[in-house]
Amino acid sequence: MDIMTPRQKLLLYLAVLPAPTLIHQPALLAAGFAFALLLAGKTRWRILSRSLIAILAFDLSVSLGVVLVGLWQGRIDVDWLLLANLRVLLMAYLGFWFIARCELLAALEGLPTARRLVTLTIGQIRTFERVLGDFRLAFDSRNIARPRLLDRRHHAGAQAIALLDKAMAQSTEVAQALRSRGAFD
């Protein structure tokens, strides 16, 4: 049973998130990370893999930069590598853990305009994903051989306009539904 409301979870997340930026000992951050892993329960590995995927590119690029500069200067700052990577991973983990446990729209209760915009935007994102997938399949089915660059350009233009039109139509529908429920009164 959930003992916290979505709003309480949001507030707890916002209160805990800055903590890793106040800690500068890798051992303490590692302990904090182990504690978070322990508390997350069965979903911990899925949250961890999402966190790793999210931070991998950025962390790797900065860490490689530090290693290269260290090699050039003759001293690699292992402390910084540990500290920064643990901190970034822990903060990403806390974010995905929060999202895994909390319904964002429910946490925004009491903020009707923000909820309306988030609802519509998320609806739009789903529409974009669906329309893009449909268009890709249709384009592939029409081309046995690899399409020319000009064909691709025409397709992209048509797809973009159709995408915007469909998104607009769907968004208007949702807004009218909101209007009929008194959301704009």
Binding site: L14, L17, P18, P20, T21, L22, H24, S51, A54, I55, A57, F58, D59, L60, S61, V62, L64, G65, V66, V69, D77, D79, W80, L83, A84, R87, V88, M91, A92, G95, F96, F98, I99, L104, T113, A114, R116, L117, V118, L120, T121, I122, G123, Q124, I125, T127, F128, A160, I161, L164, A167, M168, S171, T172, V174, A175, Q176, L178, R179, F184
Partner: protein, 213 residues
């Protein structure tokens, strides 16, 4: 150009949060009356487009990422305040759903891309509109990428100066301006060109449907 969580010191994100809260309050004044059932779907559509554009990212060695922003089209179609608010929402969703950026970095990201990016786009557009509208849109979009890039590079490069151990080694982002400025600005000067072309496309779409004045 999102800055991820964990690279900014509290000396940076705390004052930035105060500034962002002030800017959000300014932008949200009278919001309910402005967001009617005509404007809201349009805003949601362009916001979702900006969200999608920002997710195709290329990591940069300077500690951030290269991607289209989409804030210029928001600013040109909906004005500074709505663009800033909508783009802040985009950054919030990207941070929570994809771990792109983060909540401690949100104020800096929102002020750089949402506030400065949309402001720059509008100012440039208004200055150049009389010369040539298409050129004004293109240059406004390019500026909306480059100016936030400068801010992000300055903020990141500031970190080793303001947050370090007694021996001088950095506690947060490790590189100074000599690395962050070229690493962020050179790719973004080119990304700005793609942003400009896309913004012109959306601008023409909106004009054909009489969204713009």
């Amino acid at each position: 150009m999102h800055i991820p969580d964990g690279f900014l010191s509290p000396q940076t994100y705390l004052p930035a949060t105060l500034m962002a809260v002030g800017a959000w309050a300014w932008a949200a004044r009278g919001l309910k009356s402005r967001l009617d059932e005509t404007l809201l779907p349009r805003l949601a559509m362009v916001t979702a487009l900006a969200y999608g554009l920002g997710l195709v990212m290329l990591p940069l060695p300077g500690g951030t990422s290269a991607h289209l922003i989409g804030v210029a089209m928001l600013a040109l179609l909906f004005g500074w305040r709505l663009a800033f608010l909508a783009y802040s929402g985009v950054l919030l969703l990207q941070a929570l759903l994809f771990g792109a950026g983060g909540l401690t970095a949100l104020p800096v990201n929102a002020l750089a891309m949402g506030f400065i990016g949309s402001g720059a786009a509008l100012i440039v557009f208004r200055l150049l509109r009389r010369v040539n509208e298409a050129f004004a849109v293109l240059f406004a979009a390019w500026a909306s990428v480059l100016l936030p890039g400068i801010v992000v590079a300055l903020v990141l490069g500031l970190q080793p100066l303001i947050a370090h151990k007694p021996d001088g080694s950095p506690l947060f982002f490790p590189f100074g301006w000599s690395i962050t400025l070229p690493a962020i600005l050179i790719p973004h000067a080119f990304i700005g060109l793609a942003e400009a072309a896309l913004t012109l496309f959306v601008w023409r779409y909106a004009k054909a449907r009489k969204w713009t004045s």
